[in-house]
Symmetry: D3
Subunit: 270 residues, 6 copies
């Protein structure tokens, strides 16, 4: 497996464990981070053995968001012509967005396990995951507002679907910190754990449960739920009907049925 | 009133009570179920005396979902040609979807009262209702994932609007059981009751309240809320303005006003 | 500053305080209310010094909704020709809608502070605000159903994004009263306060926090969150990329950075 | 085959010939017409032997549109209560729309062959067909405007996609007559023929060509083109990719290939 | 009637004649033009006697587009801060757009009569009209490209619906001149006339025809066709069904029927 | 410049000339074709000196579409499991689509110059270009129908926007050949030329005209026209307002103005 500078990557029993690994920099997102995460998710996409992904971080904190050094480098590329600067900036933003789109568009479920700080760009990142779990003392904040800018790599687009319109606005305008408990209450995380050890144990348990299911079923469900953020009920029903018109011809249905009848645990191919 | 094999049907004081009635089969959804529910909702649509619908189930459980015998029969119709099988399957899925679309598109409010198991296809069914109420020990699970398939009669399309994106994904991928209390907390049900008797009493109270309101007002509200799942704010405002440009000329407004002035209970025509 | 008959208006330290001021009529929305609120929000839009808006009400109650006298006046304009009546009514409804659209489309955040009754049209109004806060004994009800009509100035369009589809329908069909506590639990308000004094103190604290942030950041965030109610994730990402391709060239980013480095409070231009 | 009162119906060599047959009434659309056309297209949908449909009319004229006697009957059902009248009318219009939706949604191509008058409702009808062909002296007019109403069974929705926005408006507002030649120039018909005999010969030639093609290919193409009237390029590309992921596993592709190699005419199953 | 500096305005027999009147400046669009056209269309909207609008221009040319002096004035308002300049420019562009939106959104049909030059902003203007007619020697060109900018008051949004995607791009990228004949062939104008006198006669004939129709029918048709540029077939069918559920209760239908029976010219109220 | 096996590539005076170069195989699209075209358009995107692209083909014919050998190779990758085959096929189709998406999404205009055969996949390709020009004897046909499949790399999605709904369907169902003249009449090509030499001369003239314009203006126009295929008028107007709020601050506007005043040819930076 390729070595990465900003990440650890492991694959065991169908679960890819993607770990941000720059604890000495509070896991700030530097240039390597942005390209490596895209490469990792391309690899995940192309590796049938991966059934589910856990995204966590080494150290006391999940991530402090984008690395300010990296931001400064981007700024240094700008010249005097406003129009051409805009062209350059739009491409750079689209490039960063594409890194987190790779997480969102991953056909396998991605579970985020969060402890400590989860700030700015880290909120954009976890908004692109399927589910979020945290320690009770995790600290979430949409910090972009304090940098004089609107978040532009996905928070403002994906988070309203997760926590609703009213709380979304308060958090985006004030940048205030939300602790694990409140995060749970408003739906930002699905559940909380007492400490990091419990958190990792709990998240891996959920991941294992998913890894044992039919990948045809899990990935089809993910495709449909993602699709519904942007489409009408009628379009969604048509899509699943088209999709299942082939997938119900797959052998997974038969394997599941047989296992169900014989009260055994089914085993599905990747 | 027509007799049905999978349902009981009663109409009293403006409330149609639709009861799934195959308790010996845990109210599994067989061939009769799928055609009869469509017929029942056509009848509801065409019967002005029906102002509101309560959907419940006879016995210890609400429903275990689609009947596996029925599923096997569908499977038996498939041949060897993948393309034509797909055509057959797509039509069959659309046929099943249309049964629950009849619930969703019903112009009168539909209240689901749920006890015991509510699994697989039963989740698709209650997602198509307006509101859901349950006993505290009701058990909800998106069981399709354990049959090697993605749910295809509405759960993945309608439930995200009810419980939000984050919890939606966990339940769809893991198929885990949610009890009444958690169902209430995540918005899957609007409230819970201590047992089935309380449940039925409580749901019929709400139904009676609605049945006394102006049907012009209630049905107009339902049309608008349904419309908003799929349309922009601007489109929704235009739609209600067009709608009310005629409905405000209806006599219900005058009846309500007069009753309000004289502090009497208004009586509205069907 | 212009004098208004239905409102008090103040601007202090970047916060515009818009107060409904017809306490003797339970702040019912009369003809003056509907035109003045539009004028006030045009002024807010055109006044760069306004960074954030607090919308509250004088007296024991927030508002009882539309003034029935005003409704009667509108009714008096109708003739016998159904088609031309419809044309008249559609224009009138669109006119009322445009009053609350002015609140929704305001580029600066609007915080509603609610005590006592918040009924009918008042729910339409607070649904058009960014965030809602209330006393614990505030009483919310979608009263339109009791007037024989579907709400037509925004509740049915905007509220589902705030409280979810399931509870939305119950409140719209039954018109039942929700108290502060439940309002908090279902997301209708972001938090509750023990009494009106605490409420106003709490809301102004949040408003002050927002007023100190970069208006480029706050207003950009609002534009994006509003946009997401009606657009796809992909469209939203493209919009923020286009938007930030110019806004990241603004000086606010540099001011924020400099302040961050020197650990000082940044000061942004309007 | 069922007998119809307003239509002749024939099936020969994969081509269903649907002929409006009330020449003594200029093929005006009466009650029987509206229900029978729906029944006919349900039969077409369920009959795999039908590969393509020709829709023509007996006599000198294609159709004068809706039968005024029928319209009068509908009017007679209205009472005094404006709101409930509106409910009745909306259902009736939706019923008529559903008759032509059955044409539009038919999975097999429908070719209209038009001579003489094609007025009012007849324009709604041919707008729901795939292609239109006419004699050079055919006369087209959107006559609804002369009846004091906007066309409501599909002309205003489907025709802009066929003739463009500019000419659409002129024809809808003025109700002026377009002859075959101009109809060809503006894209309303695909080609014109010198007289009715040539027309029928020409249209059946095109129908035969289509009937010999793979139904998997033809019906897939129709599904995609219909879908594109309402969806984005990206959605359309995703849909065809999902669709073809199963259809390319069908045997038609292999049959076509083999025939291509051996320079023979391929034969496809229905 | 109000006097305008950039326009002549007349109302005769239901036809409002709006004439651009700055022939000495080739009818260039100055500050007065942009505000007056909005005022004129508000007046048209509120004046029931206006049934149809003819938009023409005094002198040898229709219009050379935006006045460069006006553009220079706008430029003079910009400062050094790129972000706040962008805010100013966005508002200014939206203000100009709203002037032509008033034409597009006008509930009555607007017919443009074009001679000589029709350049830049003038193309934006005629794209917002319902139909376009010209002399054979009229000259059309999307001149914005030669000013180093993309057209931003409507050409790029509305014209593709009129002339199709392929020709649209050629004209936008090259800025080349299209003469009357080609304009007719590609659908940019509905017909051409030999000279200005014939043009005005022909356009007023069409306008008179429309003015005699039922305004309920004409305005309903316009609303529906406008709606279809942006909505699905299903949404459009639902909208006309809702709309006509009231409009078919209007007396215009009865007046048209009676006139039809008695072979007289119907007379409709405004 | 990189060497390609299926293409020639040249850049002269701002015009990239992309030539399909497999004349001995009638320019059939083999594996190399599909990956190289994507690489070429990435290079075009990243090379500011390219202002406009001409896409043509070496030899007597433009292209016969996808290479059947390549298709056979894809088929050879399929196994027995229908569901996993579908997954493989969907990814392959998406990969091919992404090759032509690169043409469609290219920020610079792409002009296709077509002679001889333009069949099957070649129609998908030219549908993704901005404009099309051909010799009078060019032959266009949607050949996919004769291979037992629906076109799946863009024809069915993009061509309706170019030639309208009615003719689109005839060509897709029959696969019939359209010659240059008819192609011009229905809008498939913008103009025709007497032979290949004239064609190349004519297309390069248009390309040169575009290359001399401001790239800010041309690329902005393209972005807006592309956007309008999928978005509402209101969304389009908002997008251009946001876009131009920065682009009008670019120096191109000033350069164009100055040149206009001094009657000189402006010179724009890339």
């Amino acid at each position: 497996m390729t070595q990465y500078s900003a990440f650890n990557l492991e694959l065991r029993e169908g679960i890819a464990h993607v770990q941000i690994n720059r604890p000495e920099k509070i896991n700030a997102m530097n240039a390597a981070f942005w390209t490596e995460i895209r490469d990792i998710f391309i690899w995940i996409e192309e590796t049938p053995e991966v059934r589910v992904v856990v995204l966590s971080a080494v150290g006391k904190h999940f991530s402090s968001g984008i690395d300010l050094m990296y931001l400064a480098q981007v700024g240094a590329q700008l010249g005097k012509e406003v129009g051409r600067n805009a062209r350059t900036l739009k491409r750079k933003i689209e490039e960063l967005q594409s890194s987190f789109n790779a997480v969102d568009e991953c056909s396998k479920p991605v579970l985020a396990a969060i402890q400590g700080y989860c700030l700015g760009g880290a909120i954009d990142l976890i908004s692109a995951c399927d589910m979020r779990y945290s320690t009770i003392d995790a600290q979430f904040a949409i910090k972009e507002v304090d940098m004089g800018m609107a978040a532009d790599v996905g928070t403002l687009q994906r988070l309203p679907h997760i926590i609703g319109d009213g709380m979304m606005r308060e958090l985006a305008y004030t940048g205030r910190t939300v602790l694990g408990d409140e995060a749970h209450r408003i739906g930002l995380v699905n559940s909380t754990f007492i400490d990091q050890e419990e958190l990792m144990g709990g998240v891996f348990n959920i991941a294992r449960t998913i890894a044992e299911k039919s990948p045809i079923a899990v990935q089809g469900s993910k495709e449909m739920i993602r699709y519904m953020r942007d489409h009408s009920i009628a379009d969604g029903l048509n899509y699943i009907a088209t999709w299942n018109s082939v997938m119900l011809q797959s052998e997974d249905l038969r394997i599941a049925m047989t296992a169900h009848m014989s009260k055994k645990q089914p085993e599905f191919k990747d």
